[in-house]
């Protein structure tokens, strides 16, 4: 596992809004048919919010917001009541232009710029006329997203609970010197980690302690976590170890590193059970995309588990996590972009079919047992899934 930016850092405040506030005026997929989007410009200066038109036809509308003032600004499209936020862009620095793209339904709205990010902003009436274009369903999206969020948080909590139990069992075998049992438990334990990897990574301090690969260790810092124990269990030859004879961990080191792994797992479990632990729709969607990135760059290349070669277990677990994320959001996706939902159904099934062909016993064949053609087929299927999956977030929150 490589260091990666946290999910929370990427969470977009703009994208939190639909979940909480957008019940009647949620916007559908940008199905503008044969008509292109309507582009309006917005000039947000210190004392004015100049929108290039006061009306636009329903369908995809682009507000190209330029900040000509000297303070950071925000732009909102509000419902007629001036309270409910339909869509927004935030953190537009002076001189910068950023697009707000939305599928606008017919109705009356307010536009608002908020230079300095305070106050009620400079407001004006805005009307979306009926173009006859089907914009998308209204209704229960917010409720569906809230349910998706609740369910995914429960899934994450269930996985950390299972991870904790399995890690403790793994640790007991490892400490008892029962390496066969530890090896047998290694991959099936890590599955619970890999299913929720982006969430675990969002806690920036835990991931490097628990899941760092040797090549990613910074000189002068101590290598800890799963892959250190992996190397000890599948001790490399001198040749495979860069010409240096591998020195097994001492009993003391085994205790030290195992204790830390269990403690960190307990810590992780505690954090996802905290009252304030939430996952928004965009975080879930981005997490699904991240899981497929993990497969594409780490698992299908055999780089994640370079000593145990249990990459296919991780592969399956990443796909599991992504599929659960998608399935939680599927009703929303299907309503807004039915074709995307169908494509994702098919592509998940394609990947699963290929993975199933490599099942062996309770798990999977070693990565090193795959032919190059088989690896290539897996890589193709992962890329075929990853591409549409990268559109999941925008399909859900737009």
């Amino acid at each position: 596992m490589r260091a990666r930016r946290s999910l929370t850092a990427l969470a977009a405040t703009a994208l939190l809004i639909p979940l909480a506030a957008c019940t009647q005026n949620d916007v559908g997929a940008a199905a503008s048919g044969g008509n292109g989007p309507t582009t309006l410009t917005v000039d947000s200066s210190a004392d004015a919010c100049a929108v290039s038109a006061t009306t636009a036809p329903s369908g995809t509308v682009v507000f190209s917001v330029t900040n000509s003032g000297s303070e950071v600004t925000e732009f909102y499209l509000l419902a007629a009541d001036g309270l409910r936020i339909v869509a927004e862009v935030e953190n537009v620095g002076p001189g910068i232009t950023r697009d707000l793209v939305l599928a606008a339904q017919p109705g009356t709205y307010q536009t608002a710029c908020k230079p300095g990010m305070t106050g009620t902003g400079q407001r004006a009436e805005f009307t979306v006329t009926d173009s006859g274009i089907e914009v998308g369903p209204t209704g229960e999206v917010a409720e569906q997203l809230a349910t998706a969020s609740t369910n995914y948080v429960a899934y994450v909590q269930d996985q950390t609970e299972q991870l904790l139990v399995a890690t403790e069992a793994f640790a007991a075998a490892f400490l008892a010197g029962d390496d066969d049992a530890a090896r047998a438990a290694y991959a099936s334990t890590r599955v619970h980690w890999e299913r929720i990897e982006p969430v675990a990574e969002s806690f920036g301090d835990l991931d490097p302690r628990m899941d760092l690969r040797e090549a990613d260790v910074e000189p002068g810092t101590e290598w800890t976590g799963w892959h250190l124990l992996e190397k000890d269990l599948w001790a490399p030859t001198t040749e495979a170890n860069g010409g240096v004879a591998y020195v097994p961990l001492t009993a003391e080191q085994r205790t030290q590193f195992t204790d830390q792994l269990v403690a960190d797992t307990l810590d992780l479990d505690g954090r996802v059970h905290a009252d304030d632990f939430t996952l928004t729709a965009d975080q879930i969607g981005n997490g699904a995309k991240s899981l497929l990135d993990e497969v594409a760059t780490g698992k299908v290349t055999g780089e994640e588990e370079i000593w145990s070669h249990t990459d296919l277990w991780d592969f399956q677990a990443n796909v599991d996590g992504a599929r659960v994320a998608f399935e939680g959001l599927r009703d929303v996706v299907a309503a807004k972009d039915a074709e995307l939902a169908t494509t994702l159904d098919e592509r998940f099934a394609d990947v699963q079919l290929l993975l199933d062909a490599h099942r062996a016993g309770d798990g999977f064949a070693m990565y090193t047992d795959l032919t190059s053609d088989e690896v290539r087929a897996l890589a193709n299927a992962v890329d075929a899934l990853g591409e549409p999956l990268s559109r999941l977030t925008s399909a859900v929150v737009l």
Binding site: R2, R5, G93, T97, P219, K289, A296, T297, A379, T393
Partner: protein
């Protein structure tokens, strides 16, 4: 047939391959050397594209502050000889050829379509109808020239190795391939025509057979940095402008501080330190990194994520704190909730001189695409080239921070690496092409 050719008056094989031939070739520049003869001409007009010619001689080697050309062929060699004289001889022959090639002349005495009929042409010929195209050839010496990994001093140079030429450390995430890393000698060939750059490396390699063999080479296109304020900032394969804050040719004082090794760097404990390293005065250090970009996963990331990782807008290249491309980033600027507009783990913040003790570098990298990887992904990325006065203070600390904290690391893999001492230029007016003529790096061998 050979005898017939050898018998032709004035054109013996020895004359072509030996010093007599080279001396004759340089006869064209009898006054003031090859470069000086041609170099001044482009300055008078406004040469564009193919007709551009840069002087080979000067206080510093060309190809550093020279406005970055569009194309690159970079190559490194390992010496196959153990003879110091062979090394000197190679550098002399390379210098002579480089002085010719950079002026748009063929590598040897004869044009590719001329010369003894039973002898291979002096010049390989593929650049015969092409102009100089702004070709520069820049030579560097790797640490292994001075002492090999096991401490062998093949050429009696170990005591002359600058401390600044210490091997780069392992950085977190490095996945270096031996076949793309290191090399006793390196040559950076830059030109506005790719065939001119490749032609230069090919002909230099030909001169090296028996003394040195190519270890690895790298083609690059689409320069990713500006080295002159007159150049538009180019884009890297992430689609973002790159090198906006680069050291520019128009900043001679900055170049003195950050780029050129000074005579007193030894005393200051800077670039040198220990041993006789005065030969590097006026030189610079070249860091090369082959950085593969996982463009497929990058392309699936949202515009929001891309801009947050880079810290600049994708269109204009403005820092997220506001302004336009060349506006200084305001790292203190906060957005909603007090979060910094330029994220803590963004590339522009971590790579900025203000995060690196004011250290700057002259970047001269190129995009590369070396086919695909067998899994349906492009083997593409950035061939990072940077010149610094002291890599220990200007590169290693920054790369350590980037490798650890940069959000962009998720999409990068460093697959090749090298560090070379780039000696000063052959002085203007020096005689080249004779058995005792001037050559690049001469100070190291005297």
């Amino acid at each position: 047939m050979v005898e017939q050719d050898d018998a032709r008056p004035g054109v013996s094989r020895r004359a072509i391959l030996g010093w007599a031939g080279a001396a004759a070739a340089v006869g064209i520049a009898g006054a003031g050397g090859v470069a000086a003869g041609r170099a001044s001409s482009p300055a008078t007009g406004a040469p564009t594209g193919a007709s551009r010619v840069y002087p080979f001689t000067g206080a510093h080697q060309a190809g550093i502050v020279t406005p970055a050309q569009d194309r690159l062929h970079f190559a490194t060699w390992d010496l196959t000889t153990t003879s110091r004289d062979d090394v000197i001889d190679l550098l002399r022959r390379w210098t002579t050829a480089a002085a010719r090639l950079t002026q748009g002349l063929p590598a040897g005495e004869f044009d590719p379509g001329a010369g003894p009929y039973d002898s291979p042409p002096d010049d390989t010929g593929e650049a015969a109808d092409l102009a100089a195209s702004g070709l520069t050839l820049t030579f560097g010496f790797g640490g292994s020239l001075f002492s090999t990994a096991d401490g062998t001093d093949r050429f009696g140079l170990a005591a002359r190795r600058p401390a600044a030429l210490a091997d780069l450390p392992h950085f977190p995430g490095d996945q270096l391939e031996a076949a793309r890393t290191g090399g006793d000698l390196a040559v950076q060939a830059c030109a506005d025509d790719p065939q001119v750059a490749v032609h230069a490396i090919r002909n230099l390699s030909r001169l090296a057979f028996g003394t040195a063999a190519i270890r690895w080479s790298q083609l690059g296109y689409g320069r990713t940095s500006s080295t002159s304020t007159a150049q538009r900032t180019p884009r890297n394969l992430f689609g973002f402008k790159d090198g906006t804050a680069n050291l520019m040719a128009e900043e001679p004082e900055q170049a003195e501080e950050h780029l050129w090794v000074a005579a007193d760097d030894d005393a200051a404990g800077g670039a040198s330190g220990g041993g006789d390293t005065a030969w590097m005065t006026g030189g610079s250090y070249l860091v090369a990194r082959r950085i593969r970009m996982t463009v497929e996963t990058w392309d699936r990331s949202s515009l929001r994520e891309q801009e947050q990782i880079v810290g600049r807008t994708k269109g204009e290249g403005a820092p997220l704190s506001g302004g336009t491309e060349h506006t200084d980033p305001d790292f203190a600027a906060g957005g909603r909730g007090g979060e910094p507009l330029i994220p803590i783990d963004s590339h522009v913040r971590l790579a900025h001189p203000s995060s690196n003790g004011g250290a700057r570098m002259l970047r001269r990298g190129y995009n590369y695409t070396d086919g695909s990887d067998g899994l349906g992904r492009l083997d593409a990325g950035l061939f990072f080239l940077a010149y610094v006065r002291d890599p220990r203070t200007q590169y290693t600390p920054m790369q350590t921070a980037l490798a650890r904290d940069d959000a962009m690391s998720e999409y990068l893999r460093h697959t090749g690496s090298g560090l070379w001492a780039v000696p000063p230029g052959v002085p203007e007016g020096a005689t080249m092409g004779t058995p005792d003529g001037a050559f690049v790096g001469q100070g190291l061998f005297t």
